[in-house]
């Protein structure tokens, strides 16, 4: 009997087998599933293909010629940036009705998004998809970005960009995890409740400063320890009651109990 066989009844054997099974399944799944497309891949812009995609996915709500309907606004003039943002974050095509379109799993491939954006851009001039240089945080000043962010963005998205409430169930989402391109596009197109921060009111350098600010605080560890969500005193109060009081009451009960 080999050493391995001799240990087949070891208590950890089951755990190891399960782990092995999970790893194999996971690897197989990953190998079979198509990978996510590259961000800066070589996508082309096929307006005709984009129109077909538009008719299939968008025209029901936005109208055959993107002129808008009661339930959805006109897309004429929103530009490629709007499409790249909305479809690229999975908000569109809208899965179900609610107070607003939430971020969701992306349903179109990068090529499809590019074609769709090209089609909508062809309808009327609008904001273009920013290139990598336009959204490069290393060319932005995080300190200047702090000031711009807190005047224009923090009241909805929170001082640290963790999100906030709007009226009637709408909300400004957390900005952690958003790509720099999507942040730029959201600023310039003003999706849903968000106002439009075009390049004349917040110029491209200022937008890069904001991106640099978000980039910096999202990368920076919390010097004080666990962040508790960066949403302010509400979570701090909760921790004071649950952790602080909990630990102290535990010690108090121990103190008063009779020793064995």
């Amino acid at each position: 009997m080999t050493a391995l066989a001799a240990r087949r009844r070891h208590p950890l054997a089951t755990a190891l087998l399960v782990l092995l099974g999970l790893v194999i399944t996971g690897a197989a799944y990953a190998a079979v599933l198509p990978g996510s497309a590259d961000a800066a891949g070589t996508v082309t812009q096929d307006v005709a293909a984009g129109r077909k995609l538009f008719l299939a996915n968008c025209s029901t709500c936005h109208g055959k010629n993107a002129e808008g309907r009661k339930e959805a606004p006109s897309l004429i003039g929103v530009g490629a940036a709007a499409v790249d943002f909305q479809v690229g974050t999975g908000r569109m095509p809208l899965a179900q009705n609610g107070p607003q379109a939430p971020q969701a799993p992306v349903r179109l491939t990068d090529q499809e998004i590019s074609d769709l954006a090209a089609y909508v851009a062809s309808l009327a001039p609008g904001p273009a998809i920013p290139d990598a240089a336009a959204v490069d945080p290393s060319t932005g000043d995080p300190s200047r970005g702090t000031l711009i962010f807190r005047t224009n963005c923090a009241m909805c998205h929170g001082a640290a960009g963790k999100g906030g409430a709007l009226t009637r169930g709408k909300y400004a989402p957390s900005l952690t995890g958003s790509t720099n391109t999507h942040i730029y596009e959201a600023m310039v197109t003003g999706p849903q409740s968000m106002p439009v921060f075009n390049d004349m009111t917040i110029d491209p350098q200022a937008k890069r400063d904001v991106i640099a600010y978000l980039d910096t605080i999202n990368q920076t560890p919390n010097p004080g320890g666990l962040s508790l969500g960066r949403i302010g005193p509400v979570s701090e109060g909760l921790v004071a009651w649950l952790v602080g009081l909990g630990l102290l009451l535990g010690f108090a009960v121990w103190l008063g109990a009779k020793s064995s």
């Binding site: 300190s143 605080i217 320890g225 509400v234 109060g237 952790v243 602080g244 109990a257």
Partner: protein, 556 residues
């Protein structure tokens, strides 16, 4: 008395005795008895937190600059570099980022402040639910309520000192509330802030209030609070051997010196653990105060949450404009009248209950909350009201985390704040009465053992073990209050008695309190129950018989 030994301890002892009578002090205090229960530690948590605040706060004052003067931030925190900030903010940033242990002590200070108020609230409710505020401790209760209020104000002023965006907006709200004071609001605002908001005077002024004035008052009140505890001796929970005329426990020296002294280190240690591993009040994320920007999630620290919640719930139409004057009832009622009513009700409560009971005796045995259903119900009602207001203060955080509409949350809470408290009162009272009845059942029929017995005739029943005398005592020792019997407002001839109206109210209040009650089991009832019950098999039941022939209170 001459010293017979020459050890250093004897030398010190002699020195102190000959100057301050240390031997007499030792005789009086060293063996004072204190009872043991974890719920008696809550006040200690508050006390030790206060000491921690004093110690860490002193360190902070060595670095904090209480000034709104403008300076440029040149420290290591990149997102703030080169910005114009106030000296208060700058010095707090410097303390946090450039002083070793600075961030730690700042966080210990803030967590200790939060724990201080947490412990004060829980301690206050423990005192309330166990009736420890009754004679002779009414004065101590009033001191305690005052301390709680001062703690809340002190905390608010404390976290406003760094002059960051979040606390600065809190000060803006405070200023708006002051402006809403009828007639003199604008004058009080200009005197407090030294002019328009934000002004340059406010930070230095709240620094003095926060560092000197309120801590001084609190220290004096806490000292008096503790002196009264020693003078009155601590209350104790009822139990075998414990009467209204004694204290059962352990001596101060050495037991409580070790336990209570050790607990100070434990409280300090737990607060330090929180400060080492949990961020609190990260002012670098907020930036220096400016009246134009604001961040989502604009809340005060939790202990102000009930005020913020009340202000959020008030509908705006309650602001009245007439004859060129504006009466902002929407702000005044929520932020001024409501806390005033709560404080007054809290301070007056011992007197109200004493009026309803007509009881003039001293009380040193605590109540089990179930035995005073009306008081417990009222306390739960107050707690529900407070908690609902507190939740309202976080309605936007609830909206984002539960994907709900903030408007619907606000409408619901407006209704709940009136509907839920009376409902909780009724339910709590019923639960208390039910628990009392269960206690009676337990005494009369014994404890359910879970063992099932079957007789030869096929009868099946569960065995009940009779309670030991000690266990039974806890369930039967309480004394009920009865509605006061007073003469009617008008006598037989129809003549109005003086104080008749007041007496009528007193009678109504007393009936409200004590009409519904469950009596404790008497020995006669137990005997009667034992005659009825066949199912009590012999089981050893206590080392003292339940029924003693001959009278006499147990003085053991």
């Amino acid at each position: 008395m001459t010293t017979t030994s020459t050890s250093p301890a004897a030398g010190v002892g002699n020195y102190l005795d000959e100057r301050i009578g240390a031997s007499k002090l030792t005789k009086t205090f060293a063996r004072k008895i204190f009872p043991d229960h974890w719920s008696f530690m809550l006040g200690e948590i508050a006390l030790y937190s206060f000491i921690i605040l004093l110690l860490t706060g002193t360190f902070l004052t060595f670095f904090f600059i209480p000034s709104t003067g403008v300076t440029t931030y040149t420290g290591p925190y990149i997102p703030l570099q080169g910005q114009e900030v106030s000296e208060a903010f700058n010095s707090t940033m410097k303390l946090s980022f450039e002083v070793r242990g600075g961030l730690l002590l700042r966080q210990i200070h803030h967590w200790a402040a939060l724990i201080f108020v947490v412990a004060t609230i829980v301690h206050m409710f423990r005192i309330f639910f166990t009736g420890a505020f009754r004679k002779p401790r009414e004065l101590n209760w009033m001191i305690g309520v005052t301390l709680a209020l001062l703690a809340i104000i002190e905390g608010f002023l404390g976290y406003s000192l760094p002059d960051d965006l979040l606390s600065g907006n809190g000060l803006r709200i405070a200023n708006g509330i002051v402006l809403a004071i009828p007639v003199v609001g604008s004058y009080v605002s200009f005197f407090l802030f030294g002019g328009e908001f934000p002004g340059e005077a406010f930070i230095p002024r709240i620094y003095t209030i926060h560092v000197l004035l309120i801590p001084g008052i609190m220290l004096a009140l806490i000292t008096f609070h503790l002196i009264l505890v020693v003078v009155h001796k601590h209350t104790q929970y009822p139990g075998p051997g414990r009467t209204n005329d004694n204290v059962v426990g352990y001596p101060l020296f050495p037991i409580y010196t070790a336990k209570a002294g050790g607990f100070f280190f434990i409280v300090f240690g737990v607060t330090t653990v929180m400060a080492a591993f949990f961020t609190v009040n990260p002012i670098w994320l907020y930036g220096s105060y400016d009246p134009s920007p604001i961040g989502a999630g604009a809340q005060p620290d939790f202990y102000m949450g009930f005020l913020d919640g009340a202000v959020r719930l008030m509908p705006g139409f309650t602001e009245i404009t007439a004859f060129g004057y504006t009466l902002s009832l929407n702000i005044a009622i929520a932020a001024l009248v409501m806390p005033g009513i709560i404080t007054t009700a809290a301070i007056a409560y011992p007197a109200i209950e004493a009026w309803a009971t007509g009881d003039k005796r001293e009380h040193h045995l605590l109540d089990r909350p179930r035995n005073v259903p009306t008081r417990t119900g009222l306390g739960m009602m107050a707690l529900t009201f407070y908690v609902l207001l507190w939740i309202s203060g976080g309605n936007d955080i609830i909206a984002t985390h539960l994907h709900a509409s903030i408007n619907d949350i606000t409408y619901s809470l407006r209704a709940l704040v009136f509907i839920l408290p009376p409902l909780v009162y009724v339910i709590t009272k019923r639960i208390c009465l039910g628990l009392q009845r269960k206690d009676r059942e337990k005494v009369l029929h014994g404890r359910e053992t879970g063992r099932v017995f079957r007789t030869e005739d096929g009868e099946v029943f569960e065995l009940h073990a009779p309670l030991s005398a000690e266990d039974r005592w806890l369930l039967v020792q309480f004394e009920n209050n009865y509605p006061v019997e007073l003469e009617p407002a008008t006598d037989a001839s129809g003549v109005r008695r003086p104080h008749g109206l007041l007496d009528g109210m007193r009678q109504k209040l007393s009936r409200f309190y004590f009409e519904d009650r469950v009596e404790p089991v008497t020995p006669a009832e137990l005997v009667a129950a034992q005659h009825h019950g066949h199912e009590e098999l012999s089981a050893s039941g206590g080392d003292k018989p339940a029924v003693t022939a001959g009278a006499g209170t147990s003085t053991h």
